[in-house]
Symmetry: none
Subunit: 200 residues, 4 copies
């Protein structure tokens, strides 16, 4: 890789990092491109060499950060040596929820304007070299479990949407219950959903 290419990559990461900081601290609407380039220490025009607009950079960040978060959870789970499929999902759920609880900016950022479509793309189309395809990981988990899951995609959809939307409310507003109070409810419900999709 030439010096120029390296420089390019540095600039781009600089912009990504800076944008992420601002998006998670001030929110995307209140973050202007001027803010981004000023803090990143580049000229305004430079921004447009790398990104189409603010929403382009946001989408790439959502993809990257979501992937990162899920893979952190997955790695932690692997270290624990959990065997059972249900237990794996519950572990990941708790890990992700705890992580988001300590980083509300990240939660607000990846939840706002996050649709299942964006989400799925984020998890199955890794952008950074280090990003992993969570879709493949999920399929592997199912296979390891014996592969007796009906409609695995819909099941994941139900689980993620349930956890995501209730977790958002609990973490951000402690309403109607705190995250700690919510967890047992979620765990019970998620286990039931999995059971319901498991063929015997």
């Amino acid at each position: 890789m030439g010096k120029a290419d390296q420089n390019k990559k540095i600039k781009m990461e600089n912009l990504l990092n800076t944008s992420f900081e601002l998006f998670t601290s001030k929110g995307i609407n209140k973050t202007s491109i001027s803010d981004i380039v000023e803090r990143a220490g580049v000229a305004k025009g430079t921004f447009y060499l790398y990104f189409k607009d603010k929403y382009d950079i946001r989408n790439r960040l959502i993809a990257h950060k979501s992937s990162q978060l899920f893979m952190q959870a997955y790695d932690a789970m692997e270290k624990e040596g959990i065997e059972d499929f249900e237990d794996k999902i519950i572990f990941i759920m708790n890990y992700v929820l705890d992580e988001l609880a300590t980083n509300k900016g990240l939660l607000a950022f990846i939840y706002k304007d996050l649709s299942w479509a964006v989400f799925k793309r984020a998890l199955t189309n890794p952008l950074a070299d280090t990003d992993v395809d969570f879709g493949a990981v999920y399929n592997q988990m199912i296979e390891d479990a014996g592969g007796k899951i009906k409609d695995p995609e819909v099941m994941l959809f139900l689980i993620i949407e349930l956890i995501g939307s209730t977790g958002y409310s609990s973490i951000m507003y402690d309403d109607p219950v705190s995250l700690n109070d919510l967890k047992p409810h979620l765990e019970q419900t998620v286990r039931q959903i999995i059971a319901q999709y498991t063929e015997d």
Copy 2:
């Protein structure tokens, strides 16, 4: 009520109706206060006599429109003469989902920036004279059912968030499945959640 008060009320409803039309057709971000007052036929300054800003009017509308939608569903359910609690919830779910599917503008409007907190307020603090307290209605439904529901608020929370977030994705993007494909999954899952919260 004096003539002046009546006039005031007319202006206010005018602004509310106009805002709703614009919010659901163009989205709130692309709707300016100029747009609203122009179509409502009042002066710009007048807007500020009634509302603090665009988001003030939005919150009041979410409350009003959500309440309206739920009460429509509730009334339709009553006409059907459904007895069983589970069946009631399922009926309301289907009614609301169908309604939102035919009015995506409304869905986008009440879903975006809709938190459980806003939602609960909407359903328990009727603003318009005709609005009904859905919280009381829900409690009545539980009582009619024999009152053997544990943590009814958390249960409702889980159900609403699950239906809301999955329904949004299906209706708006047909992803990962269409609304019609989603419904049986939701019905089964919601019934299980209710069962899980029902004391025997």
Copy 3:
């Protein structure tokens, strides 16, 4: 007229005058809206209350200034008491050319982007109260002459385009001849054109 309306009119004229000064001194391309409002002493947004964009204000100015110029020439001609139609046209031609020669900024301004369509509109759709309909004046001149002109509009078109484009070159670049050298050529040619369109 209320105080507010007066104020409005003053602001508008202020903007028109300022724009004209800048357009004729720096050219329209190099004049920014910032320049205009700064010199006019109003806020940027104010500009957009009165005009759609820079080209809107330009078109109105061309209309106004062309009309003004032609009517000055016409008035001067009337004072001279010239009777003959040909002599009238020649007088107006010389008057206008001399005027433009002393005000090259005006010439550049009304000539650039000036099409016959814009021109005709300028001369027949007076915008300011004081503007006069030159189209009517021209028709009156022809009538006074005995009305024996074939295709008067085409004739005027030929004359104006000939004078305009050759005059522009002579005044602005002294090329291929100076204005004073050009005039006798133009006079002779214009008289021949009129003769050619005069029925006997």
Copy 4:
């Protein structure tokens, strides 16, 4: 000519051709240097190795294209074997007008910002090897005619400006008459102008 020189020439012609396409299709103001180099397939910096700016390239193109057009007309005229001087001019006029009518982009391009000075330079200072000196050709035509033309340059100036400006309006806006309706008027007027400059 060395290989490097050839390469240079190819790059330059590439830029010229590309610019011409863009200028005549989008207009010069809406054509950016980025557009040009992108389509020409060279780097941005390369542009500045060959041309000072957009207007440098424009002037060279006007020269080249005008010359080309006139010589086409001249060649066609020669093939017709027309003898009479007046007839020659009329033939060229019609040829050029017809050509421009079928290529309005070219008309807009060579007419906008076209001054007699630029024009004359275009016709008398051939840039490309194949360009011909129309000035010399014109003088030859006059000589062939017997050389009894007074002020031949002024006469040409009057004729070209008249045809150019009226033709522009007719072709571009069909105003005040279409090109076909304009032609007989022009022919008659041009013949009279020539007659007027012809010594007996």
